[in-house]
Each structure stands twice: as C-alpha cells, then as structure tokens.
Amino acid sequence: MIEFDICGIGAWSERFANAEELVAGLESGLWPDSVSLQPELIPPRERRRAPQFVKMAVEVMQQACRMAGMEPNRPATVFASQMSDMETTDNICRVLAESPRLVSPTRFHNSVHNAAVGYWSIATASHAPANAIAAFELSSSIALLEAAAQLAVERTPVLVVVQDAAPPVPFEYICPGAATFAAALLIAPPGASARALVRCRLTTSPTEADWPDLPPRSPDGLAGNASARILPLLAAALTPFSGEVNLSFPVAPRLSLQLRLQRETC
C-alpha cells in the first residue's frame, strides 16, 4: 500500500482553463467554445518556440503547484502521454517525406517525449529527476503507479502530468474524435504539505478493472482521449464528498490499481 496526499490539480482543455472551470463545467454542463493558453512560466521568447503540447503541460503543472502552495522546483516530475506530441511528429514526418529534408532543429529538440518536463525544469530551475513515460491506452494509470512508486521510495513530492492532443488526420484512426486534454496532479507524502485536497491509499489487486465512467456532463471528445481517463479522479478530488470514494483503474490485463480517497481531516 502506498499512501499520499493529492495537494494540487491543474487542468486544461479547449473547454476549461483550470480546475475551477472544470468543476464549474461539470456542475453546469456549460462549456466555453475556446480557451486561450499562455503559460506565464515560459518566457515570451521561448513561448514562440515551444509547441502547444509543451505549453499545455507547463500550464497545468504550474496550476497544480500553485494550488498546493509548493515551490515548482521541488517535486520530481512524471510526464505521460499515449500519443506524445502528434503535431510535432506530423510536421517532422511530412518534412521527411519531402525533398530536401529540412528538419527544423527546434522542432527536432521539441520532438523528444521529455520536452515538456525539460522546458519545465528550465523554467523553474528544477534539478529534480524528470521522467517521461508512455503505456499506450494505460498511460494515465501507469503514470499514477510510477509517480506513487517514486513518492514511496524516494519520499519526494511528485508532479504527474497526463495529456494527449487531438490527432492530426494520419493518426485519427488511433484516437478518433479525441479532444485535447491535459491534467496535472501534485502528490506528496502524507502530511508533507499543508494544503492537501484528499488522502489516497493506493493498492494493486490481481483483478480486471474497467475504466471508471467519465463524469456525466464532461465536454465532448474526452472519451477518445486516453489521458482524460484520469478525469474521475480529478473530479472526486475537487468536489466535496463525505466518507470515502473508491476508484479502480486497469494497469495491466489482469491487474488493477485501487485508489481509496478520504478527506484529510479524518
């Protein structure tokens, strides 16, 4: 069993700019048509060079740290995505299919899966370990598992980011109709942060699990986004409940991750 507090949450999509707007939208079912993205942490000059995929991550990471009241250079980072930065992949593969093959050096260094945590470490002057992982459709639950393992063994807060973008045409058949979604959770060892939203107890069990249903009034397009499968956890941590909430997520064909959430006061 691994115990931790969820201390901060960041969220961004084209329908909500942060966790507060996410909660409001889930209550009302009303979503704005578009939401801007201008992460303050990335200096204006870098902002032009940074792809949208990096900006999303940095934005939600900063939101989570702010909510937790934690210095952004303190937590280790775990970034996860099923499909990574498809816009950058699409651009590079198109250029490579042409002649001459003029790959942009900036695009190329932005194409690494750890680009977002790299930009984050530069923007926050963080020397903390940074991981970038993928696990296909299980990317978000494996990210939670990896973050929890790191927290338990290294006794460090961990900032975990899960995100996937809407696919360009060649990748549409893999995640049809998916809308862009990014979320960050800042988790910390129990009691390490003064501002815990909920306490979580994580266990695994050798059983099959289905993904929990998305909240009923979720915006369109999130069902096709592997990263958005973490939304029920965000919703539970952000909305009032009494007693406890139990969630399970698949982490392997016959293995599930069980999360028991309790308000920290009890």
């Binding site: 691994i2 250079n73 099923q82 499909m83 990574s84 992949t89 590079i92 593969c93 198109r94 490579l96 299919a97 093959r101 003029l102 790959v103 942009s104 050096p105 190329f108 260094h109 932005n110 194409s111 690494v112 899966h113 750890n114 945590v117 790299g118 930009y119 470490s121 530069i122 926050t124 002057a125 963080s126 020397h127 370990p129 940074a130 991981n131 970038a132 992982i133 993928a134 696990a135 296909f136 299980l138 990317s139 494996i142 598992l145 990896e146 393992a149 338990a152 063994v153 290294e154 045409v169 060649p170 990748f171 058949y173 695994t204 050798p206 982490v251 392997a252 064909p253 016959r254 293995l255």
Partner: protein, 395 residues
C-alpha cells in the same frame, strides 16, 4: 539497495548478442560503416545492425511489424534470455513480472514510411494502420507479449537517458512490492527523424566518431536493443551481478546543450554514489556517455575531474556502436556488466589524440582486470541525466 541482475544481453552494430560483442570489443573492431541506410543520402557513418533485414516477427505479433520491433525481437532471442524469463515466470507467476523498456523514437521509422504513402485524404494506407506500432509504447507491447509477461508495462522516453532510467524505475517497482521481477531493456533503431534531426543541429560527424579526440566532429547514430532481468536480492542466490545505485537529475539549462559545468550530470553521479554507499574512488570503471560531440565530451571530463581520480578507468564505447540514443543506456549498462563478468575493460575506439583541454585521462586501450564496482552514465536532451552503479558479487 541491492537488486540482482539475473540475465542480460545486447545487440548493436558491434554484434548480435554477447559473444559477438565481446569479440568486437576484444579485437577493437568497430561496427560503424559509411551511411548505407535505405532512402538516406546523408554523408555520415552509422551503426547499423545488418541482421534486422533477415529478422521476421512471429506470426502472432505480425501486426506489430516495423524495423524497431524486429530489432527488439532479434535482441530478445540472444543469450538465453527467453529461457531465463520462462524460469522467472515459473518462479513468480506471469502477472508479477513487469516490463520497462526505454526508447527515444520507438517505431517512428514505420510512421515515416506511412507518411510517404499517405492517401489523397491524408490517411495512412491500410497496411500501415497499426495503432500499437505508431506510438512510444510499441517495444514494450511487443516484448511483454513475446516473453509472456503480464505485469505492469511501461516505456520510458527521455531521449538518450531512456534505457538507463529503466533500471531506477524497476528498482522502485521492486522495492514497493508492485512486482517480483522486471524485464528492463531498450530498443532504438535507425530512422530519418534522428539522422536528419541531429544533422540539423550540426551534431552528426561525416567520419567515424572519435570520442574524446581533439579532432572529434560529432556523433554517429547507431541502433541497438538490449535487456536485463532484475529481481530483489536474495542472500545465497546465484546472481553474480547487482544494481546498487542510480541517480537521476535535470540540468535546468537548455533543451539540446549540456550544462557547461555538468551540474545536472554531477548531481546524477553523486546521487548514484550516495545510493550505492560508495566513495567515488571505489568505482573502478565508468562507461561514459562519450558521444564525440564537442560539448558532451568536454563537459563529461569536467564532471569526472571533479569527482574521480586517475585510479578510476573511464571510457566511451561509442566508437564500436555509434550513439544508440534511447538504447544507449541499456547497451552500455550491458557492456559495463559484461566487463565485470569477463574482466575485459574496454577502452575508447577512434581516439587518436586526446583533447588537451580535458582535465581527466580517458582510457584508450583495452585492459584486463577485476572490477568490483562500475558506473554507467547517460545524458539526454532536455538536460535529462542518469547514472547507474553496479557491483560484481564475488568473494
């Protein structure tokens, strides 16, 4: 901390499996060749694995076909690794064994091919519509299925430190009790993205790469795959090698240049030593990142000079294999482990005149001797650093 390494293998341009690798290292025979990759006219040298061309995936995983997965499969069949995994499954049960692979580009070569054949509406043609191929997790999906492992499976993609970090992740999973064994590994194959990408950064050498040479002109890109099996250490076990330390850090400096003083690299090395409970002078051999880029080799020797003395032998093996990017961590961990096993400590190939600016003497010639403690360093884009410490468990 101490975790047993109960089997390992690697395949690169320096050979398919350990026996060919040992012969290439002992004979100082480089696997690099002038670029002859199909559909690529860059004037550079590469580390290509010839046998990929004659490797076919088993029919049950035909839907995962692509160069990277063929390389991963070729490497998985060497050195009795599959038999060792069968014994692991018998001992622990399949769902208690995790799979953690490292890769920087996974099957992007296959995606590049698909993009040359997009139909009029911009879609991939039917034979390229492989959801489990065109994503980073592809090598782990393949390997877990072929090895019959059904525990949690994860792919780490942090550029050139990817398959070094698989060791630290595996150690944590084992320590938490999530699993009882982990197949760690890495696979990265030659593709246009990395060749033209590194070329755009002017980091690719037009001649065989010369790590630590005063006239080094950049990297040669290579391909490799490799594996190790890691379990919790049990007293009295037959294991002869152990992972005893790891360190991970971020430079917080630049996306594609290392920190000039190697601040992040040093933090990773220090963390690995601290976890191993070793003083720097107890480390007898270090397999360096040593890419032959101007910046890396200079910064890395600064890091060495600030921690290690001349009693520590340090070399780069990239003159044999090229820089295998996301597979460099596992390939060089395997070379380090095998040096501890065989007593052949590789030197550095193609380095004729050591750069006089270096403050640390890099080992050029091969040597023979027992190594009790060794380290392997990997540094990647985004300032992502990893260092590993291994121990030879003999009396």
């Amino acid at each position: 901390m101490r975790f047993s390494i109960s089997g390992y293998t690697a395949t690169s341009a320096a050979g398919v499996g350990l026996s060919e690798l040992r012969q290439a290292l002992a004979g100082r025979r480089s696997g690099l060749r002038e670029n002859d990759l199909e559909n690529c006219d860059l004037g550079t040298w590469i580390g290509r694995v010839e046998q990929i061309n004659s490797t076919e995936l088993p029919s049950e995983v035909a839907h995962l076909d692509g160069r990277n997965n063929r390389l991963a499969w070729l490497a998985l069949q060497q050195d009795g690794l599959l038999d060792a995994l069968v014994r692991c499954v018998e001992k622990f049960g399949t769902h208690r064994i995790g799979t953690i692979m490292g890769t920087s580009t996974s099957s992007i070569g296959r995606t590049e091919e698909a993009y040359r054949r997009l139909d009029e509406s911009g879609r991939m043609p039917p034979e390229y519509r492989q959801p489990e191929v065109h994503n980073l997790h592809s090598p782990s999906i393949l390997v877990a299925q072929l090895a019959g492992l059904s525990g949690p499976s994860m792919t780490i993609s942090t550029a050139c430190s990817s398959s070094a970090k698989v060791f630290s992740a595996a150690a944590r999973w084992l320590q938490c009790g999530l699993v009882d064994a982990v197949l760690v590994g890495g696979a990265d194959s030659l593709c246009l993205s990395t060749l033209y990408g590194f070329n755009s950064l002017e980091l690719v050498s037009s001649e065989p790469c010369r790590p630590f040479d005063v006239n080094r002109r950049g990297i040669n890109i290579g391909e490799a795959a490799g594996y190790a099996i890691i379990t919790r250490f049990e007293a009295g076990s037959e294991a002869t090698l152990a992972l005893i330390g790891y360190g991970e850090s971020s430079d917080a400096y630049h996306m594609s240049h290392p920190h000039p003083d190697g601040l992040g690299a040093l933090a990773a090395v220090d963390a690995a030593l601290a976890r191993a409970g070793l003083a720097a002078d107890e480390v007898e051999y270090i397999n360096l990142h040593g890419t032959a880029s101007r910046a890396n080799d200079l910064v890395e020797t600064r890091v060495l000079a600030s921690r290690f003395g001349a009693e520590t032998r340090a070399s780069s093996t990239k003159g044999w294999t090229g820089h295998t990017l996301g597979a460099a961590g596992i390939l060089e961990a395997v070379i380090t482990l095998d040096a501890m096993q065989t007593g052949l400590i590789p030197g550095t190939l193609n380095c004729l005149t050591v750069d006089p600016d270096f403050e640390f003497p890099v080992q050029l010639e091969n040597r023979h001797g027992r190594v009790k403690y060794a380290m392997s360093n990997s540094f990647g884009f985004g300032g992502n650093n990893a260092a590993l410490v291994f121990e030879a468990l003999r009396d």
